[in-house]
């Protein structure tokens, strides 16, 4: 139950009482709000009493008579609009002229009720106002949550950027103070760690830029029909040096054209993410198999590796931002923890899904589906 605190301001005692009687018996239900709504009614007989009550304990809903003995309802509204508030106001007036109504709405009233009105009219006007109030509240809550999420993202990001710099600085200090003596080769492993951490940081920054571009939606998609086999081949070629270093075989399995109406840059990010993960988390002399298929407008990209795999617990956290599986096997693998977040965002642009099956020590298979929305082509 949501209780709407209501203040009724009218100089006619009979009017105050009858509004109070109707509202205190009213229980509203509003679409998309699963709780019922009732009213707690307070009364004021003139402008100064109303202002005092509004200042000490602001209600959610104000029913305000236009004509009061001391000041007009409009003047009260005037004093209120200066402060930011969630309160909704309904103006009650015997002079239901368009002019009064416009002035009231200009001064911040949500709606107006013309005297005389019946209980049904009162309930209907109040119901609309309350709906507005609740939607406004929900929007505010959503904005707060969004702010919170962004704040959390920045705070984790700060940590993720600080930690490689700290590590590199630590090694540099050890080198500067020649902790390991004068033989430069003693410092090889420190230099290697500095390079691993620096590369990780660069990757994080690049991924962050990709993500920002996707999230802001500012980048317009450059759409055309492409055979995504070509994109897959390009991506495999990019990863080839990294794969060759460790004797990993990358093979593309696709026996027909796989046309997709897409932004090829986005699809390349998908392949780069999937294939680089499959290479990075593979074992030496392992293999990466990329399967492409298209049935009707459903495209399936399957990337299977023979790598270190993941247990169920690790799989569950996979799509959280900045999550990286951390163990002795992954220590020297560079990554930002944003790759799969980016993959998920792009996949969503193509109404797609991502499925993972993985066994520790056996390898992982990532299956991404995308919908070829060729019908949209005419609209672009």
């Amino acid at each position: 139950m949501i209780t709407v605190r209501t203040l009724v301001v009218d100089d006619e005692a009979g009017m105050r009482k009858s509004i109070a009687r109707v509202l205190s018996k009213t229980v509203l239900t509003i679409p998309d709000v699963d709780q019922q709504i009732n009213f707690e009614v307070d009364l004021a007989a003139d402008g100064s009493e109303a202002l005092a009550k509004l200042k000490s304990n602001q209600p959610d809903l104000l029913l305000l008579d236009y004509k009061l003995p001391d000041i007009t309802g409009l003047e009260i509204l005037d004093q209120l609009t200066a402060e930011e508030s969630e309160m909704v106001t309904i103006m009650i007036t015997a002079y239901a002229s368009l002019e009064t109504a416009v002035a009231a709405v200009k001064n911040g009233a949500f709606d107006f009720l013309a005297k005389p009105f019946n209980p049904e009219e009162l309930r209907s006007t109040v119901s609309k106002a309350v709906q507005n109030l609740i939607v406004a509240r929900q929007l505010k809550k959503l904005a707060r949550e969004r702010h919170q999420v962004r704040f959390q993202f920045i705070s984790v990001l700060g940590h993720e950027l600080k930690s490689p710099i700290n590590a590199v600085e630590g090694y540099l200090n050890l080198m500067k103070s020649k902790t390991m003596g004068d033989d430069i080769e003693s410092y090889d492993s420190m230099i290697d760690r500095c390079l691993v951490r620096t590369r990780g940081m660069i990757k994080l920054i690049l991924d962050l830029l990709d993500l920002t571009r996707l999230e802001s939606g500012s980048k317009t998609q450059d759409l055309c029909t492409s055979d995504i086999r070509d994109i897959a081949i390009r991506s495999i070629e990019t990863m080839q040096p990294m794969a060759d270093e460790r004797g990993i075989q990358c093979v593309l399995h696709a026996d027909k054209t796989i046309d997709l109406y897409c932004d090829s840059g986005e699809i390349e990010i998908i392949f780069n993410n999937l294939i680089s993960n499959a290479v990075k988390y593979n074992k030496d002399n392992g293999s990466v198999d990329v399967y492409l298929d298209k049935v009707d407008n459903l495209i399936t990209i399957k990337v299977k590796d023979t790598g270190i795999g993941m247990n169920a617990e690790e799989q569950a956290t996979l799509f959280q931002e900045f999550t990286r599986i951390k163990n002795a096997q992954t220590r020297n693998i560079t990554g930002s923890g944003l790759g799969l977040t980016i993959l998920k965002k792009i996949t969503a642009l193509y109404s797609g899904t991502i499925k993972i099956s993985s066994q520790p020590d056996q390898g992982s298979t990532f299956i991404v589906t995308l919908i070829d929305n060729i019908d949209n082509e005419e609209n672009h």
């Binding site: 700290n166 902790t179 420190m190 760690r193």
Partner: protein
């Protein structure tokens, strides 16, 4: 190299580079170092090894892994001094130190140091605790 030689220090931190750097520095001071990258690995080592001192990170895979591990060590080897090192102060603005008796009743550590730590300070604490 100093001549304090051969006392064993257990280092536990899930940040490999931090662990590695402390390992290099303390080894250069002549200590015998055992490292563990997490609570579980540390517990395994503690099954058959009693170090002369332990340096633990507070937040590892579990938020309070360091506390739990410190408790474990003190229960098994009551006389082994424990230093807890943590970035928690700078990250959450929570204040921890083992400076009062009340705190020492629940923080099973002899010394609490905040990251970033100064190695000289850590070394001084290590020397003091191992001597005592």
């Amino acid at each position: 190299m100093s001549d304090v030689a051969n006392e064993t220090i257990l280092l536990v931190d899930d940040d490999f580079d931090f662990l590695n750097q402390l390992d290099i520095q303390l080894s250069a001071e002549g200590y015998n170092i055992i490292t563990a990258e997490g609570q579980k690995a540390a517990e395994k080592i503690l099954e058959d090894t009693c170090p002369d001192l332990a340096i633990l990170d507070l937040m590892m895979e579990h938020q309070d892994g360091g506390f739990a591990l410190a408790f474990h060590i003190k229960k098994k080897y009551a006389n082994v001094p424990v230093i807890i090192v943590s970035g928690v102060n700078s990250e959450t603005s929570l204040k921890f130190d083992a400076s009062t008796d009340e705190e020492r009743t629940w923080v099973k550590a002899d010394v609490f140091l905040s990251k970033p730590i100064r190695f000289e300070q850590l070394l001084k604490e290590v020397q003091r605790l191992i001597k005592g």
